[in-house]
Symmetry: C2
Subunit: 397 residues, 2 copies
């Protein structure tokens, strides 16, 4: 008999429709994948150049906290791009942001403790909470008011002696909403009032379309743990190089126990990531502009189709949309099983799995703008045509 924690765990809402996609492909249907945050942009070649220049004869264990040069590169990057003073000692390199989240959850909670998650939230936070035996308690953000940070009373309602931290991503996956200085200060006030840690996942921090983004590190508080990664900003998802950054020495000292337990992050990708972090501002401009144009296309397509129930993203590369359907997951499944436009269909992520409050998100989807413009435009036309058909079918029955 396996553990309750794992048996009760849901499959990734982003990936659970994959079998239907595979079926569709077998039927010769082309699928536009707007369901997963895997960018199509080429990983900058400097990644390979650094690896080849180094090419260690023995692929050795790096320091458990990561290569010193990489920790320096992260610190330099934060100084240059985020205008915050971070020392390499504040940076612990991890197997992607995923492991940084796992470490943070494990360090701030005992089994049975609770973490407040601003929902909709990145669905995998739930998995990491299960592994450490902690529970995510939702505090809901609503599309109607642009997914703004809820008022303190919304937090107080659900805070107990078991509550240890608040977790959110900024820019937000799945909504693309960007939180600024005021929002971060508000969250820190709440954290201080209730003695909580503030865990902020900033893997999309370079993808901000103007407007005010503030890294939680700018709060300069010992309650803050920031999680980052090279995956999205450098289109290097497969590198699995992320980091945990905090100015809290006690957290760092204890995180090292976990880091030593799993020995080290992958060596070659650490070396390549040093090159990525040294890239100039023009690269980040290119990335930002690329996603800005794509998000614009998606929003315009939605508006032209008369869909107004979505919040124009200020960053990241996702658009969360409330659809005029009852069950967005059924619709998404139907798009793969029963619909095609000239042998093409579009795959999106139903948003229910991004909420832990039962019933919420049932009519919402997440669109990932990870295809080049013409494909993205076509993918949206196919999606919206499918939506029209679905609505006709269901209003006629």
């Amino acid at each position: 008999m396996l553990s309750d924690r794992i048996l009760k765990a849901e499959e990734s809402p982003i990936r659970k429709l994959v079998p239907y996609a595979e079926e569709a492909k077998k039927r010769g249907i082309r699928i536009y994948h707007l369901n997963i945050g895997q960018p199509d942009l080429e990983t900058p070649s400097v990644f390979y150049e650094y690896i080849l220049a180094s090419r260690p004869k023995v692929v050795y264990y790096s320091h458990s906290a990561g290569l010193w040069e990489l920790r320096e590169a992260f610190a330099e990057y934060y100084k240059r791009r985020q205008r915050v003073d971070v020392s390499p000692d504040h940076v612990l390199v991890t197997n992607g942001a995923s492991e940084a989240i796992l470490f943070a959850f494990s360090i701030v909670t005992n089994p049975g403790d609770e973490i407040l998650a601003l929902e909709p939230f990145y669905a995998n936070y739930e998995t990491f909470a299960r592994i450490v035996g902690a529970h995510l308690v939702p505090v809901t953000r609503r599309e109607e008011n642009g997914f703004a940070i809820p008022e303190e009373r919304e937090f107080s309602k659900v805070i107990s002696s078991k509550t240890k931290a608040i977790v959110l991503s900024n820019p937000c996956n799945p909504t693309g909403v960007v939180y600024g200085r005021r929002d971060m200060e508000k969250l820190l006030e709440i954290a201080e009032k209730h003695n909580l840690y503030l865990i902020v996942d900033e893997v999309y921090s370079e993808i901000v379309f103007g407007g005010d983004f503030a890294t939680a590190l700018s709060l300069d508080s010992k309650r803050v743990v920031v999680v980052d990664s090279v995956s999205k900003k450098f289109s290097a998802c497969g590198a699995r190089v992320g980091c945990l950054i905090t100015k809290n020495e006690e957290i760092l000292r204890n995180a090292m126990k976990l880091a030593q337990g799993r020995l080290a992050p992958p060596l070659l990708e650490q070396i390549g990531s040093i090159g990525l972090l040294n890239l100039g501002d023009e690269f980040f401009e290119f990335v930002r502009n690329t996603y800005f144009r794509r998000v614009k296309i998606v929003c315009e397509k939605l508006e032209r189709a008369g869909i107004k129930s979505f919040t124009r993203p200020g960053g990241a590369f996702y658009v969360t949309v409330k659809l005029p359907v009852e069950d967005a997951e059924e619709f998404a499944k139907w798009m793969l099983k029963d619909f095609n436009l000239e042998m093409e269909t579009t795959m999106v992520a139903p948003l229910r799995g991004f909420y832990s409050t039962p019933g919420l998100g049932r009519d919402e989807i997440r669109i990932a703008c990870v295809l080049k413009e013409e494909d993205l435009a076509r993918a949206m036309d196919v999606l919206l045509e499918g939506l029209k058909t679905w609505i006709e079918v269901y209003s006629s029955t």
Copy 2:
């Protein structure tokens, strides 16, 4: 306030002496590192050849279970080298064996549950148990009888309704003892009698000096989870490519939830590892012979020094020795702080941290045979000279 689980976690016993080593280096002393299992052998160049031949333009997320070609390569390897029939579907690629252990612990236990660990055990099992909120319960193996698998009654004594699994490494880190078919059958009987899973870490399986090694997969039981890695057998520790292998579909299905949660293992090292797994038998012969000669040197040096309280390893590259000292950790520390022979000293791993029964292992150390022969011989001379001095100093006081 951080979690008890992390505050109570001990630092890696293998790495806690590192600060003293750094001090010694500053004083210009050369240190022979016999303290950590980082082989000095070159990683076979095929590792880089495969990466360069593929060199994906987008460093993408692989399938969460790992690249299919890598899963096939592991299955092929097991058929060819371990003579067991494993399908690629039985193989889940992980971030080193470390993550495979974490997944296994998380899948078979709920917080508060217990896992029986044959002590002395690989110290980091303790870290993974803490992360998932489970407890390791020791079942002791003793040097006096060659660290043999204890009798069933020794297990029954400590088994409760909370006990979910048995974990051990074979060949054993830290003792180098190799367990064969009979031992595995005995363990499976115990597991069946008490309804437990059997988790066997076989990362040293290629390093066996004759004698009878049996992979737990040969038991062909749904209770068995095997953990493996390219780290030791291919001298690719920094690749962080391991796997979880089981013929239990329920475990695999649920392990996938965890695998999807952390998205994917590192891409480039997965590609390189396909090349490693395709290496011919002569490579494994070279590795085995290399470590055999080294282990022989260490054992002979110990015997010539009149130290008989150790078990000649049948595999891996460690020798566990009971020293004629009261506190081996104090001795190991003293070797770094206060001793040198012509400006050289030797670093070893105190074994206390490999036991969870209080008091056990206090007079034991682990010697890792990871240096080339002349260095290893010199390292042992320095170690034994230091031991002589230490004993004189302490008998004279």
